[in-house]
Symmetry: none
Subunit: 190 residues, 4 copies
């Protein structure tokens, strides 16, 4: 599926690429996308040139970070959806996506922007997740676990918003949990 079409990289090149993605994920997440590319390269123990060999523009690096995250989410969501019954799966996936997208404005924007001026790879990844979420939502609603009037756009908006909310409370896990309680209760039919 993902990236299977490119020729296999040499072992060290693959390692460097992965290292760059890891560092970029970390740096973009914690300090925003304004961080100089050179700093990311050096944090990965590499020169700028190497970064640009792997990702032709800074934007491409950003996109790769987001796509990787989206693919992770997709995979775990599929697993959760297969293993649990509708209501449980729905809420577990909600948490999963919130947790995975925490701290990533880039990501949340990607999830939400849904189709507007998005690059192909992002487009594809978000489409898949949106389909998964739509499925989960529908099943949960049929099972009577979620209000019927909530649609996919509202669900996504709530996920993004809950992500933002929980980010405010990273220092207090119990408070963070209370946010989920409020939102989940609000999602259930009265």
């Amino acid at each position: 599926m993902s990236g299977a079409s490119e020729r296999p990289l040499r072992a060290d090149a693959a390692r460097n690429r992965a290292k760059l993605l890891d560092v970029a994920t970390q740096v973009f997440t914690t300090r925003g996308i304004g961080v100089p590319t050179e700093e990311i390269a050096h944090a990965a123990g590499l020169g700028v040139g190497t970064l640009f060999r792997h990702f032709p523009t800074k934007e491409a690096l950003l996109e790769a970070v987001v796509v990787r995250r989206l693919e992770t989410i997709t995979a775990r969501t599929a697993q959760l959806a297969a293993e649990a019954e509708p209501a449980e799966a729905f809420f577990a996936c909600f948490r999963l996506v919130v947790d995975q997208s925490a701290g990533k404005e880039e990501f949340t924007r990607a999830l939400a922007a849904a189709g507007v001026d998005m690059h192909a790879s992002l487009q594809e990844s978000t489409t898949v997740i949106r389909a998964q979420l739509a499925e989960l939502l529908s099943a949960a609603q049929q099972a009577g676990a979620v209000r019927c009037e909530v649609g996919l756009p509202e669900l996504i908006a709530l996920i993004v918003g809950t992500g933002t909310a929980t980010e405010q409370l990273t220092a207090d896990p119990a408070a963070r949990e209370r946010i989920f309680e409020v939102v989940f209760d609000g999602l259930r039919p009265r």
Copy 2:
């Protein structure tokens, strides 16, 4: 209130300052804080030099924008709190703050960062709002309109999160309304 200590500006200087704030608010909100200062100055019909006379750094301008917004919120919140009974006042203020902070990451960050490395004027403004919200929350809880286990940090986090969520749905007011329904229902005691 804030800024009462500076000498009164000449009429035209005051007008310029206000114009700059208006333009900056508009521009930062719609296009992000990356917009060049020169562009803001020109959109206000002024030169860059004048902008920097009024606001010694770009950050100071940003701060002034946020502070003005916070002061507006403070005033309206006080009014609402005085006019309505606890439950109604609480939810109305929740909406108010969400609406006023919509689109302003700067603002939400300011509200949430609450005390960490914040400039004095921001500190002051947020402290006031936090106090108001604490008051409203407490009254609403005593009136039985809001779950008891929700504290001020959770409330603020939910406000910020709801702001993010509703921003995703600017094109669909009905969906936007459903977000409030979910969050408000979730806040009420079962």
Copy 3:
């Protein structure tokens, strides 16, 4: 005519702009267009930012250099054409254009490319010169001073080529003169 539409620059700004053009002309001519912009700015006693304020891209600077040169040529050509009789005017202008374009590949290319992917200002300047040369050529041919089978494209090609030829001989004015003799004799009817 040229540049009359822009607002008048402040005296010092105009001086800086002129200085930049002078330096750029000199540097591009002697060392090619590969010279870093920063070097040009510093050679003019200015910072890079100033250069880019006056000329938004390096290419724009190059174009301005060329246009200024073309305008000089146009003016002098008009003067020569008015003052002398056809044959004399033709050969004098030939020399003039060769001398003025000496060392400027940029220029010669501009003159020759005539219309392909050329910026508006260049287009305009070259069009004027081409018209002048066509006029001079036609008059000289009617006066029996120049072979009839030579057209404007050949004339321009010969001007460009003679420029290249004389550049090889900057150290020996007499030899340079012999180039003109050969070309001029070749242009006359046998």
Copy 4:
């Protein structure tokens, strides 16, 4: 001749070297010397490393391209000089050199720079051609086919200039021919 001192290359290495030269000639000629080395290597079906094994710097590659071209010219010139009588040989060689150097600023500069900061191999090649041209010129002058006052430097300058001129007219062979007529007529004694 040139390069006779290196050890003979393995067959494949020799093939690669030739392929690189062919590709570089084509690419430099049509797109200028700014083309990245990596692109040349790949166009030759090789890696950059291989290119740099054969030519230690980009400049060395450029030089090799020019030298090969010069050697071709030398060989053909010798042949022409041997086969035809002075006047005919002179003009035929003039054409030959012009045609062969067309499109190659690099080349013309090499021919003209004659001795200044030129690498040994170029030095050698240009010296040979210069000698050939001097010979042809002298013979043609003695045969009364070329003006006496024209020296070798002027001849070379005219060749270079004629090359530049004809390049302007690649689209119109008849016009191109007229350039030669003008120059050749100009070269003849009156």
